[in-house]
Symmetry: none
Subunit: 218 residues, 4 copies
């Protein structure tokens, strides 16, 4: 007694028209004023056709974003062997996606939607973020193998340190993601991820300051 439709009978023309219409409209009016009805009209499609195949407006936008990214061929992780060069390229490509006129609004919309939609966050993890993050983690691990990145650091943490600052500035709009910024960010982040060799008195305080840590770890 399943009510789910038969995917083999799905009209691909309709699917494509819907994603195109969604992409166009989100660029025109933004996510807040984007409506299912408008998408249906623009796509020349019945509303039910949208409701049949997507659970929410956010899911449509998410799929539209994926389609746009495929057109742009996605994020490639550079690997020249030179960590500084690779890092700059990686950050630049990431930033380029965030400020791309066609992609920025959908990105913000998806980021927005996952805050309140557990289904969509799962979707995002599996189909957009997951591949990207695991590729990044592999890239990090290889750099660790080459002793370019401190092997003691969890790759997941390195990922946060790489992408986090970029997203933070982008989301809070505290400044532009221009070349100057990327340059400064790369210079600042690079030492974090490089192998730490000599003793570092500050670092020591983190690992060993007993009274504070005791209080903290309660």
């Amino acid at each position: 007694m399943s009510n789910s439709p038969d995917p083999t009978r799905r009209s691909n023309a309709s699917r494509q028209a819907i994603l195109d219409a969604a992409a166009e409209l989100i660029a025109e009016v933004g996510f807040r004023r984007l409506t299912i009805e408008a998408i249906a009209v623009r796509a020349g499609v019945g509303k039910q056709t949208i409701y049949r195949w997507w659970p929410s407006k956010g899911a449509v936008v998410f799929d539209a974003l994926l389609a746009l990214q495929h057109d742009a061929d996605g994020l490639r992780i550079p690997e020249s062997g030179d960590l500084g060069v690779d890092l700059r390229l990686l950050l630049r490509e990431t930033a380029a996606g965030l400020v791309d006129p066609h992609l920025e609004e959908p990105y913000r919309a998806v980021l927005t939607e996952i805050q309140h939609d557990p289904v969509l966050v799962e979707e995002l993890r599996e189909r957009l973020l997951g591949p990207l993050l695991s590729a990044t983690r592999d890239w990090i691990r290889r750099a660790q193998d080459r002793c370019q990145i401190n092997a003691a650091t969890d790759p997941a943490v390195v990922v946060d340190v790489l992408y986090g600052p970029l997203f933070y500035r982008w989301l809070l709009r505290t400044g532009p993601l221009d070349e100057d910024y990327l340059q400064a960010l790369t210079a600042a982040v690079l030492p974090v991820i490089t192998a730490s060799s000599g003793p570092n008195p500050l670092r020591a305080s983190v690992e060993g300051s007993p009274p504070v840590v005791a209080g903290i770890e309660d």
Copy 2:
């Protein structure tokens, strides 16, 4: 010929009731299903009283968040002189706010709303983010004066590197913000911001890789 209401005649009881109701409701049903009507009913207030004083639902939630924060006395920036200790405390306090049962939903809501509301982003900059960020930047500058942080790095970039990873993980829900994570993040971030003195071959590649940089800097 101004149509704006007279703030001196504003009912403080209504204002407080509205903020309380908003805080309660956002915790109960989340931001998406939060409605102005429900806030008005819960607060025992006419809808117009909300529309008179706030331009949008997001603005109400933002004020409710500010009020909650004031109750919690806000974020204090620690300054023991030990950079590692201070950094951990700072990150821990920040993270504590993000995962506080009363604050998490409002935080996500505000973060969400500023993506699509230029007025609110300005409000946020002035009244929530601004004070916090400038305090953080001052803290950084003092640490730079003590030669605990590389004086060549723009404090704004340091801010991004400090808070960015935390927000990134929190927004994308790629993992918990628990003590283990904060410990690892502190350990990873600390070297970024400490003064780098000796020659660093990787750093050199960032500053000097001619062919790539040439292409980039066009």
Copy 3:
């Protein structure tokens, strides 16, 4: 590029429910406190369904009134050949409608609404008043053919003289529309409409008073 809905797809169940609810509510609370929202709730119908098919609250009540009248089978014009008898029957049937517990309020509401709504007055003319008045005028003409009514008088004027006094008393509530009144009114009106035979000095003054008439006819 028409935005008007397709009448062939109209839900007749909703239509009937709306008219019934309107009739009930107007009897319960009167026209002034009758609201579209209450009609929608009582009818188990969305407000939009009302707004889709009727332009105003008055129009709904008007249709409700028409439906009630159809149930009561409307006004029949009697024609026994005896003018006095017919006239009394006509006035009595008219008065019966005006004081019917189910119809009085809707009648007053419609009369009220047409004072301020040109669209509704047209509607009224075509669908309620028109048929009644033209039937009455035909009835008058046949009586004139039988020389029971002065053939020189415009049937439209006769109509006013027939119905006007009744409506006047009903609208201004200057007295009851009971049998005594109908009896007196019939007795008074009958001579108006009967063929005038003998010379009438007063009548003469109307037709011949030169100075006054001169001033009037300018």
Copy 4:
């Protein structure tokens, strides 16, 4: 423990400004879209000053109408002794008020309001209609004394027959109240009210048709 205000301290300037504003606004936007707030603003008066002295919007308009009528000096009942002349003058003056550009809308508004407001209908009876109707009835009685009007007819019925047709046409907008109509109406109505002496076969049927009347009077 009376809450009613002290009439001796009433501001006459405000009273007049309110009535003027009401008269202006009803001419501009009609009664339906007339609001107390708009009257208050236009009159430069606080809303409470209106609510303090009038129980309803209809009451304000009623007073505004009375004031307008006083300016126009009201309806004088002509009495030349020639019934036909007097009747024409009376109908003409009545009709003139109904179609006066300044008075028509307020008249319709008041007529409308009394349908649903028992307080106002009483007010109307006492202050507007009452004096007019009793004057008319006196006029009729004097004509009856002069044997110009059938003394057997109740003056109240005569009043209805006089004014009713005019109001009927005016309210239902079935035709203009121009000189031609007034001429025809006068000619038609005059015989009703004149003394009928000789035998009238139709009249007889009214008074004596047993079978029909019997059925009716049950």
